[in-house]
């Protein structure tokens, strides 16, 4: 595996095609859980964990179960079930093995099943024809990109709390407009990799 190819996938997923700001995946938690720096970091960590594992498992399901059995049309159902089961399983394992980690990530884990970035990255891995290793790298990098975006957002929102926003724009609208400006800033990364 070419190290250059891996680096391109990482930079692409974290910065250039940031999953939240350029591809619009995972917007609900991005807008919902970004009120405080601490909680958004926790959410980010949980997402990194689940997305890395989900990328690996959905790849295996696709190439060792769905393709040999000619069941590609069941892809959506199979992937979402794998992800839902994985999230439950990860929650159980963490609760048993590491109470500290469970306290930090526990409340965010159930929310992740409906985070469209997880299913999104699984489908994108398959559509882009990535190998197992590249899928894993892409899943992890996409989640790091999500964490970067949500952390930046939380930092900005903590300041917006203190500023005088027009009443009609309070809450969701000002958050969306801020996200738009962040997205504009991320445009600066376009063209980093040819």
């Amino acid at each position: 595996m070419d190290i250059r190819e891996i680096m391109i996938v990482i930079i692409g997923a974290v910065l250039i095609n940031n999953y939240v700001l350029q591809r619009f995946l995972g917007c609900c938690p991005y807008l919902g859980v970004s009120k405080q720096l601490e909680t958004s970091l926790g959410m980010g960590m949980a997402v990194i964990f689940v997305m890395a594992i989900a990328s690996a498992f959905t790849w295996i399901v696709q190439y060792y179960i769905l393709l040999p059995l000619n069941l590609i049309f069941l892809q959506t159902i199979a992937f979402i079930l794998v992800i839902a089961a994985l999230v439950q399983f990860v929650e159980l394992v963490i609760r048993k093995s590491s109470p500290v980690l469970y306290q930090a990530l526990g409340i965010y884990l159930p929310l992740i099943t409906t985070n469209c970035a997880v299913l999104g990255v699984a489908v994108i891995n398959i559509r882009a024809g990535y190998s197992f290793l590249l899928s894993l790298v892409n899943g992890t990098a996409a989640a790091i990109g999500f964490t970067l975006a949500i952390t930046l957002m939380a930092g900005i929102r903590e300041r917006i709390e203190l500023s005088d926003v027009p009443p009609a724009l309070r809450g969701a609208p000002i958050t969306l407009i801020t996200a738009g400006l962040l997205s504009l800033a991320f445009f600066g990364f376009a063209g980093m990799v040819k």
Binding site: F24, C27, L31, F73, A168, A172, T175, S183
Partner: protein, 207 residues
């Protein structure tokens, strides 16, 4: 009439996009043109009505503890139906919406309505609620798509090609119009939706 109220609820008072702030991903991603918003909205409406109906019918059979996985199976089955139908009959639209067609599964509106409504009420009310929510989502996406397309390209050419509507263009009205391309790019999606929700808040004085 209960079902009529349930139906109109989703259209305005609890509009999923403008009021509940649910299903943001497709609302932001596919609304580069009015016709894409309309297509996405109708596909989601179909899934919502069907899944609400089936889940309401099965609400006494599904055990409480495993209801979420059960809901997800029902929803993803209907999404697969939509996916195959779109692939067959509207391949162009399917190509444009791309990854967001399978992602209807994780559209939080659908699971939220299953959990908050269809799991509790009878079939007629659940179907009415699904239809109202779906059409509320559809008009919101179409309006957002139209606004982005008109400001960003100066016309509604995609809708013209699809339906043969009278060609609408800002050039005709103003003589010359420099399209603000930003509105059909990623940052424009966030900003336009933010401004639109703000406008809705202003119009209804419902902060």
């Amino acid at each position: 009439m209960r079902p009529v109220e349930d139906f109109s609820n989703g259209l305005f008072r609890e509009n999923p996009t403008f009021r509940l702030i649910l299903g943001m991903c497709p609302a932001l991603a596919v609304t580069t043109a009015a016709i894409n918003g309309l297509g996405m909205g109708l596909a989601t409406t179909f899934v919502l009505v069907c899944s609400n109906t089936i889940i309401s019918l099965l609400r006494k059979v599904i055990p409480e503890d495993i209801r979420i996985p059960a809901y997800i199976v029902v929803i993803s089955s209907f999404v697969t139906v939509v996916q195959l139908v779109m692939q067959g009959f509207t391949p162009e639209l399917y190509g444009v919406l791309g990854i967001f067609v399978p992602l209807i599964v994780v559209n939080c509106i659908i699971l939220a309505r299953a959990e908050a409504f269809a799991g509790k009420y009878d079939v007629v009310r659940s179907a009415a609620d699904g239809l109202g929510m779906g059409l509320g989502f559809t008009w919101a996406l179409t309006l957002l798509g139209a606004a982005r397309e008109v400001i960003g390209t100066g016309s509604l050419s995609n809708a013209y090609q699809m339906f043969g509507l009278p060609q609408f263009s800002l050039k005709i009205i103003y003589g010359s119009y420099d399209p603000a391309l930003i509105t059909i790019l990623a940052p424009g999606a966030f900003i336009m939706l933010g401004l639109m929700i703000g406008l809705m808040n202003l119009l209804t004085k419902h902060h």
